[in-house]
Symmetry: C2
Subunit: 329 residues, 2 copies
């Protein structure tokens, strides 16, 4: 499943503007550390979403550019700090900021990106009171992302995590920024209160679906398309919703549990051991459960599109939602 070409064009416009915005400051080392992730690319889903929503609500797509770039920068700031915290050494095929420089520089670069994002946000061509709404929602959103990141870190140290708290973590770590993008797009386009509310909720649901579909891809993903080997998340021992669900089903000792635990987090697990673990995940119904969850979130998200008048952009948002839970296995 491919995204429409117009979305790729939008993403390209965002690229240019983003680099322009980040050509800033008088200290070359800090500037380079700041642009290291943004210049490595990305789908620019958040700015594109804001643009599509603003176009669909009131033909004000272009006016979302500063807001969208601010969100993209915030997304990148969280990646820089996440990589320091998780000790991840690579990102988008390049060394992480803290590896290329050092941890202090990565922490500072993240902070500086965050600050720069708010300055760019102020360039948004909206009445001052709407800017207040944008600053408020962006700030509440970043706070939730911080909570989600804290949960994620704390979950790592725990034996068991429930499905509900796992979904809450995913919502706060990922979905809220999509929600903010859609909400902001609707505000900038002068949407009604209902449009602002519904588009926010639509993107929140979509964001959760998007993220948990990632879990399915991480287990069943096609190596040629995702760039990751089948069962990648199993060998890495990544705690995904599929694993969280399966472990709830396998609380008591049993041979399926043993089979799963043998491959989980075992870098040297053979292809056969991984296949057997996947078979366990099929038997516990965990893959079906997560697939259905992702589809349910997407369906509910699409229902909320009713608040928009018919337009090409409305259709594109619908496509984007399908894409979220239909990206190739």
């Amino acid at each position: 499943m491919e995204l429409p070409k117009r979305m790729a064009d939008m993403a390209k416009d965002v690229d240019g503007r983003l680099m322009h915005y980040l050509d800033y400051g008088k200290y070359p080392k800090l500037r380079k550390a700041m642009i290291h992730y943004p210049e490595a690319g990305g789908k620019r889903m958040r700015p594109v979403l804001a643009m599509l929503v603003a176009e669909a609500v009131g033909k004000r797509g272009k006016e979302t550019m500063p807001f969208g770039c601010a969100l993209e920068i915030i997304h990148n700031f969280t990646l820089v700090h996440d990589d320091v915290m998780d000790k991840d050494e690579m990102r988008r095929g390049r060394p992480a900021v803290h590896v290329l420089y050092d941890e202090p520089t990565a922490i500072i670069a993240g902070d500086a990106l965050f600050a720069r994002a708010y300055e760019i946000l102020c360039d948004t061509d909206v009445p001052g009171e709407d800017l207040r709404r944008l600053v408020r929602t962006v700030s509440q959103t970043v706070y939730l992302i911080a909570e989600g990141q804290q949960m994620d870190i704390d979950f790592e140290a725990r034996h068991t995590v429930g499905v509900e708290e796992y979904v809450l973590m995913v919502e706060e770590k990922t979905a809220v920024l999509f929600a903010c993008a859609a909400e902001g797009g609707a505000i900038i386009a002068g949407g009604t209160d209902q449009q602002v509310r519904d588009m926010k909720e639509c993107a929140r649901l979509w964001g959760i679906g998007f993220q948990i579909w990632d879990d399915v891809l991480g287990i069943l993903g096609d190596e040629r398309k995702t760039g990751k080997p089948v069962g990648n998340d199993i060998r890495n021992g990544k705690r995904t919703l599929i694993i969280v669900h399966a472990m709830e089903q396998l609380k008591r000792p049993c041979s399926d549990r043993d089979t799963l635990l043998k491959a989980l987090g075992n870098e040297h697990a053979s292809a056969e051991e991984v296949s057997e673990a996947i078979a366990v995940l099929e038997r516990t119904g965990s893959i079906d459960f997560v697939t259905k969850q992702a589809q349910d979130y997407a369906r509910k998200a699409k229902e909320l599109l009713q608040c928009l008048p018919p337009s090409e952009e409305k259709n594109m948002i619908s496509t984007l939602i399908d894409y979220a839970v239909g990206r190739d296995r």
Copy 2:
């Protein structure tokens, strides 16, 4: 030299409001990590300065409370991250956030404080376009603080640092936040463009003077008053303006240079060795140089107070400036 009681009362009001603002979020661990430094106290100089300026400009001191608290929270966020970067284990007599919890939690708590600060800023009772000015100046300020922190870190790895670049670092790391406090106070009070500009510049100069006076205290400070032993900064090997100046005077090998280097950064230096090092700093004129610099900054800062009509608060700002460079040795 003591600060007026009214300023202590103002700081107390700030304390209460600050704790109210930080009683937020649903994740207790993150909340506790966030309030760890703010609840440990502090002089609340930035909110108090904003309040005094707004009172002096247009009797709108109370209206600065959200803005002032936002700056205090930003100040605390930078301390949390600085302590992670510098591996400092204590702050205000308590374990640093990253010691009490861990580094990831400290990084997240800093980010969350930053986000929360902007949300609080939105509560400021000003027209939307003035809020835009406040968000813009706060963001530019935090960007400069990041640059200053990066310089500070990079200086540590270098053999020599010049007086000018050292002062620039101090300006960005410390003075800009005072400048922002005064500028914001003037904006909130509806000040003229000249008042906004002059109060910002006044506080910038004052902030530089304040910080380099700290260097004098760190070398000659009275233990009973500063809580730090005489020569504390010498034993710690802290690169202060006094040391930067002295090293510029002692570029070539000589016995004074040897005497200074023997005590500098030597935790076990005897009281006599420290005294001899201080005598060297007197001979190079470095203590006089820095004292005079601090006084010059304070003098220029006071000249800018002309833009204010006479008031009790104007006098208090003047007292605050004197305090900056007259705190007991």
